[in-house]
């Protein structure tokens, strides 16, 4: 028998995450929207609430709770602030390659600080020459005695300006078929975050460009084996990256539905709430159907991952479905609000803008279909 119920403990995790999001993050949303900057208190609060520790093993100071718990937390945080959930999702994505492929010294050095939120992580794969095709990467590395020298430029990197520990994907200067990943620390000579993007949504989550100019890093910062970088980066993006976007999408979707129900119950037309109109009910039902389906897909994949099974294909399906569904939900939520849906006093305008940013990160919907088709045809 398949058990679709959350355990009592998982329900408590949800409660903890909801209480946290509503008490610590919600009050900061308007500041994030106004300034479009990372709010320090939000990052600090995430650390204090042990949100960066969720998937880090206990022996390195984490909670070792796994991916269902992480999905629950992301869902609850995104329901209040997609920007915050996105930032958090990438902290985990930046950390995961160290958990999976780091050696003892690297794990000891980085993970405890990352678990406490004293260090912040990100992953830098995408370049101006294309994110969908990581093999088109131009950021290069060259071995030089006991160090590597990095040169190149990364773009659209979440947490670009706040991260202390960056997993960087690069190509061998002499062999365009060989890729490796390195841990680069903030403050390393020759490494600099440069341009900061102004995104249409997820304001308060920092996205920007990283430049490496003769950036020399010690050889011990190579992550995993030299030449195996593609597997290292993709393995984390495949489940932790996509799974994180699923959490962001589900939380946003929930927020869209809640705002729509509230508005539909309050808005009186023809002498009764518009929730009595069949057309509106139809829209609400559509949103609910998508949300239920998306949650089943997302939590199925996350629980497979917790069992130690590969779930990147299942996450591709879930990522495609939930991010597309959240975009539909945001549009529907705005529609239900009528003219109010265009006014910034109503959160649905933010939801619409945030939903537009869900697609590309961790692979576009087209790329998800490429992956899913490959799975079907294999």
């Amino acid at each position: 028998m398949i058990d679709f119920t959350f355990t009592e403990e998982q329900e408590l995790f949800r409660k903890a995450a909801r209480e946290f999001a509503e008490s610590k993050i919600a009050p900061k949303v308007s500041e994030m929207e106004e300034t479009a900057k990372v709010v320090d208190e939000v990052v600090k609060a995430l650390g204090e609430a042990e949100m960066m520790a969720l998937t880090i093993p206990e022996e390195y100071g984490g909670l070792g709770l796994g991916y269902v718990a992480r999905l629950i937390a992301l869902e609850e945080i995104s329901r209040v602030s997609v920007a915050t959930a996105m930032m958090l999702q990438i902290f985990a994505l930046g950390t995961e390659p160290i958990i999976r492929f780091g050696n003892q010294e690297q794990k000891q050095k980085y993970l405890p600080g990352l678990a406490k939120g004293e260090r912040l992580a990100t992953i830098a794969v995408t370049e101006p020459t294309g994110g969908s095709d990581p093999k088109g990467c131009r950021t290069s590395y060259k071995k030089d005695d006991d160090s590597y020298i990095l040169n190149g430029r990364k773009c659209f990197i979440t947490n670009s300006h706040i991260a202390d520990t960056i997993t960087v994907f690069a190509v061998d200067e002499e062999n365009p078929e060989a890729f490796s990943t390195f841990v680069v620390e903030k403050g390393t000579d020759g490494f600099k975050p440069t341009h900061e993007e102004h995104k249409v949504g997820m304001r308060g989550c920092n996205t920007g460009e990283l430049v490496f100019k003769k950036c020399r890093i010690p050889a011990e910062n190579l992550l995993g084996e030299e030449g195996k970088g593609l597997r290292i980066a993709m393995s984390a993006i495949g489940d932790v990256g996509r799974g994180g976007m699923v959490g962001c999408a589900l939380g946003l979707h929930t927020a869209c539905l809640e705002a729509s129900v509230k508005f539909a119950n309050e808005r009186i037309l023809y002498g009764k709430p518009i929730s009595k109109l069949q057309t509106i009910q139809n829209k609400l039902a559509d949103m609910k159907i998508d949300l239920e389906a998306g949650r089943l897909l997302g939590f199925r994949a996350a629980s497979m991952q917790d069992k130690g099974e590969r779930a990147s294909n299942e996450f591709a399906v879930a990522k495609y479905f939930t991010t597309e569904a959240a975009q539909r939900a945001a549009k529907t939520a705005v529609d239900i609000h009528g003219g109010y849906g265009c006014m910034e006093e109503y959160p649905v305008t933010r939801y619409l803008r945030d939903s537009a940013v869900l697609g590309p990160s961790a692979g576009t919907s087209d790329i998800m279909k490429v992956i899913i088709a490959r799975w079907v045809l294999s």
Binding site: E8, E11, L12, K15, A16, E19, S23, E50, L63, A69
Partner: protein, 265 residues
């Protein structure tokens, strides 16, 4: 070591109050699918206990009477930092009024054994009698202070607390063991933490029924309840709209007049 008992109640989520209906025949609440949550003021009671535990050598015991599903709120208290949890659950306990509830809880506390202070929320969000705390004190024959909003001194056996009155407050010295019922002003309850939830894995909840408490079935539940709710009705909230006309000055003048009449300013 200071032994603190916190009495907590599982109530239908007040955020979903809108969904609660009243059965017109039995005059009981129809809870439907509204989840049970920790009574909001009991969070303040828990927080008071947790703060004392941070200052003193103390042990926190959480006690609840309710259906088996109330186990989740006891678990929540363990996750917040309570050391032991007890759930009094038995079909015979159902339908209890404040008196029978307090009696059952008092029996539970007696069975737990030693205690120095018992915290209760001032009232529950679904019944709001404010009686259970005081009645526990009466059954245990110990002093009670209701509506505590500040704990001033906890040294020795005479504690000093500040309690709310309708138009002010009173400072009370009370000899422990005592029952203190607490208000929202007392503290700002902490939120659950993930590591607290993990910690709570180690702590089991003890379930006691009518046999373990050694009470007769006519002293508990509906049979042991000397009060019954004879009527209940939901309050309908209506908004009245009045449009004020005139020049801007006249409108402002009239608005001020209305607000004064309504006692708002």
């Amino acid at each position: 070591m200071l032994k603190i008992v916190v009495c907590v109640k599982a109530v239908p989520d007040p955020k979903q109050e809108r969904k609660i209906r009243i059965n017109p025949v039995t005059k009981t609440l129809i809870r439907g699918d509204i989840p049970l949550v920790l009574n909001p003021l009991d969070k303040n009671a828990m927080e008071a206990a947790l703060q004392l535990k941070e200052q003193l050598d103390a042990q926190i015991v959480v006690l609840s009477m309710g259906p088996p599903s109330a186990g989740n709120i006891v678990k929540e208290c363990l996750a917040l930092g309570a050391d032991q949890g007890f759930l009094l659950s038995d079909l015979a306990f159902s339908g209890a009024d404040a008196y029978a509830t307090a009696y059952t809880l008092a029996k539970g506390i007696e069975k737990i054994g030693s205690y120095h202070v018992i915290f209760c929320g001032m009232a529950s969000s679904d019944s709001s009698t404010e009686w259970v705390g005081p009645e526990i004190g009466a059954f245990l024959k110990i002093p009670i202070v209701t509506r505590v909003k500040e704990i001033i001194e906890t040294e020795g056996e005479w504690w000093k607390v500040k309690a709310s009155l309708d138009n002010g407050f009173r400072v009370v010295q009370v000899k422990i063991p005592a029952v203190l019922t607490v208000t929202r002003e007392l503290n700002n309850p902490r939120t659950l933490s993930f590591s607290g939830i993990i910690e709570a894995r180690k702590r089991e909840i003890t379930h006691w029924g009518i046999n373990e408490l050694c009470v007769s079935d006519d002293s508990v539940g509906l049979k042991g309840s000397p009060t019954i709710v004879s009527n209940m009705a939901s309050i309908e909230l209506k908004r009245e709209v009045e449009i004020i006309t005139g020049t801007r000055e006249e409108k402002a003048e009239q608005l001020i007049q209305k607000l004064v009449e309504a006692g708002v300013i």
